[in-house]
């Protein structure tokens, strides 16, 4: 099978709409099931939208397409963003999203590959994904394949020593087709990153480990696409994109609050969140047609 150009993706939508749909669906999925981590999902919604709509080579008709780009959501707690992205790309019907986190569902709170077309790697315990992605990148080089490996990390996850083991390995082995995007929203589970385990100077750390580093506004789609699409001139260095994000981005009262790492919006909070989200993106809200999936 020949490579699919992104412009010919059958269900391609603008990445902004794609991101809105992630947020709108995830709000319904998380609130209906009593799940958590909406702040994390909203934090990555834009970078996930750009990746899945505009950057990665995927084939929804053939999820195991040999030449697809590989993707690992290492911060598995934002799994809802993967499931919506796959539904948006046509890997499965949106109706499946309504089963998220419920009894008997294949859509677990942390992303799982079992019986979910389009998911390669299950995650949920932090610190696993970069090593797996590095293994995939090592495989592609040995197999002389051109596909890329993308790994999305959280900032808090960079507390894990295994991330830095993988960072050393990838640079040492010149895995230039490995790209990690770090959702740097600067808030982790219990408190701000700076008060928990400071990561700064963060860029310097990645560079010192031998990576090419780009920084981007994690909600600016054009900037994200530019950062993700072109591999650096030094093709032997793995690429780290530090995406500066706002935790809970999209609903005003979610934003930059530790509370919404775990809190589930219900009742009046849910109504307020729906209204706030729609108000922040009126045109995208008007074009959102996925609500019936959660009826």
């Amino acid at each position: 099978m020949s490579q699919i150009s992104n412009s010919s993706i059958p269900n391609a939508k603008g990445s902004e709409q794609f991101a809105y749909n992630i947020r709108a669906h995830a709000l319904e999925m998380i609130s209906a099931s009593g799940a958590s981590h909406i702040g994390s999902v909203y934090s990555v919604a834009d970078l996930m939208a750009v990746l899945f709509s505009s950057v990665m080579q995927l084939d929804p008709e053939n999820p195991q397409w040999e030449d697809r780009d590989r993707f690992v959501l290492s911060k598995g707690h934002a799994g809802a963003s993967v499931y919506v992205s796959l539904a948006e790309r046509g890997f499965f019907d949106h109706q499946l999203l309504s089963t998220y986190y419920t009894n008997g569902s294949t859509l677990s709170g942390h992303v799982s590959h079992k019986n979910v077309p389009g998911v390669d790697i299950s995650t949920g315990s932090l610190g696993h994904g970069l090593g797996i992605g590095a293994g995939m990148a090592m495989a592609s080089r040995k197999l002389e394949k051109d596909w890329r490996s993308f790994v999305v990390l959280s900032d808090g996850e960079c507390d894990e020593g295994s991330i830095w083991e993988a960072a050393l390995f990838a640079a040492h082995n010149r895995l230039g087709r490995l790209t990690t995007i770090i959702d740097y929203n600067k808030i982790q589970s219990l408190a701000p990153v700076s008060e928990t385990m400071a990561l700064e100077p963060f860029r310097d750390k990645w560079e010192a480990f031998g990576w090419q580093v780009r920084e981007s506004d994690g909600h600016d789609h054009a900037a994200l696409k530019a950062a993700m699409s072109d591999l650096p001139a030094d093709g032997e260095k793995p690429l780290a994109i530090i995406a500066h994000t706002t935790k809970g981005k999209g609903v005003s009262f979610f934003e930059e609050r530790v509370l919404w790492h775990y809190r589930c919006p219900r009742g009046e909070e849910l109504e307020a969140a729906r209204a706030d989200l729609a108000g922040n993106y009126p045109a995208l809200s008007a074009a959102f047609a996925g609500g019936e999936a959660h009826a």
Binding site: K114, S122, G131, G135, K142, L143, S162, L168, F169
Partner: protein
């Protein structure tokens, strides 16, 4: 056994080009060597099939999973508890849940590195790794079993754990004899009980059986090189046909071979007339010594096996295991 493992893997490379051996910076002398000897070793001879992942076992395991899921057969390689306990969650989530084609190789089962101290005693690995779904658990008793089992593993997809011992049973292969994953191997038949061993400590069972024979007791001996999947039929036959079972393993008595046998017997409703587990009595040794010394110190050698069998059969003319341990 270690050299046999590497030699076997190397001999199979022509027909298993998907092989990649990933070490956690261990294997000096067998995977690598200094200077002009290097070209005689696996790593130098087969760079396309060899990765040194450095002293980073969690990452080594994740790399193996990532590569295996793209079609490679990955073998992670380190010593003692490093490739297992240090990377346990990567083994569970990344290898087992994904049913990835990875064999974890631990050099130095049990007290193989007995002089190096507690950190290097691999005495809980079988229990812990056995509890992981999708995982096969192998602890060969003989070098030639390593050859057979590694050959079979090359052609068997999915997660596996291969525990390599410094010692070995010392019983030559009989004509036509083979070790097969999941099938116990009858080393010797008998009617007064069965000694079921895994790993090189089979040698102690052989010595014990010879001594018991001198007292008129005929012991069956099984090499249970595969702890999971356990050969249920062999265990039940041992119980029915010989009456008693004594498990022999260089491992904590909790959770390993003895436990697997006990679970099987109870689950199947076939209760042996006597049962005893030879192994480490749920503690950490605080002294060091070679494998033979530590087996003796901790009630796991031929003396202990003989004492256990005689004790169970009602002859207390020899020291009991409790006596042996108490005398330490």
């Amino acid at each position: 056994m270690r050299d046999t493992f590497v030699q076997t893997l190397e001999s199979l490379l022509p027909e298993h080009q998907e092989t990649v051996l990933i070490t956690g910076d261990l294997g000096f002398g067998v995977l690598t060597a200094p200077d002009d000897e290097a070209q005689t070793r696996f790593g130098e001879r087969h760079p396309q099939h060899f990765i040194n992942a450095g002293v980073a076992e969690q990452n080594m395991t994740a790399i193996a999973a990532g590569m295996a899921l793209q079609g490679f057969k990955a073998w992670t390689y380190s010593i003692g508890n490093f490739p297992t306990l240090r990377a346990l969650e990567q083994i569970r989530n990344d290898i087992c849940y994904h049913d990835a084609n990875v064999t974890i190789v631990a050099i130095g089962g049990g007290f193989s590195y007995g002089q190096l101290g507690m950190s290097h005693f691999a005495t809980e690995d079988l229990a812990i790794i056995r509890a992981l779904p999708n995982m096969k658990v192998l602890a060969p008793c003989e070098k030639w079993e390593v050859t057979d089992l590694v050959t079979e593993l090359c052609a068997t997809p999915g997660p596996a754990y291969l525990r390599i011992d410094k010692s070995h049973g010392g019983v030559e292969r009989r004509d036509g004899e083979q070790a097969k994953i999941g099938k116990a191997r009858m080393v010797r038949d008998g009617s007064d009980g069965t000694l079921i061993a895994c790993g090189g400590i089979l040698s102690e069972a052989m010595i014990a059986a010879d001594r018991l024979a001198e007292q008129g007791l005929s012991m069956r001996i099984l090499s249970m090189h595969t702890i999971k999947p356990l050969d249920v039929d062999a265990v039940l036959s041992a119980s029915r046909e010989t009456g008693g079972i004594v498990s022999v393993e260089e491992h904590n008595v909790i959770g390993g071979l003895g436990s697997a046998i006990a679970e099987t017997c109870l689950s199947e409703g076939t209760i042996p007339s006597y049962f005893h587990r030879i192994g480490l009595a749920d503690h950490y040794p605080t002294i060091v010594g070679d494998q033979d010394y530590l087996r003796a110190q901790y009630g796991m050698n031929a003396d202990a096996i003989v004492a256990a069998v005689l004790d169970k059969l009602g002859d207390s003319s020899e020291a009991t295991v409790a006596d042996l341990v108490a005398a330490q």
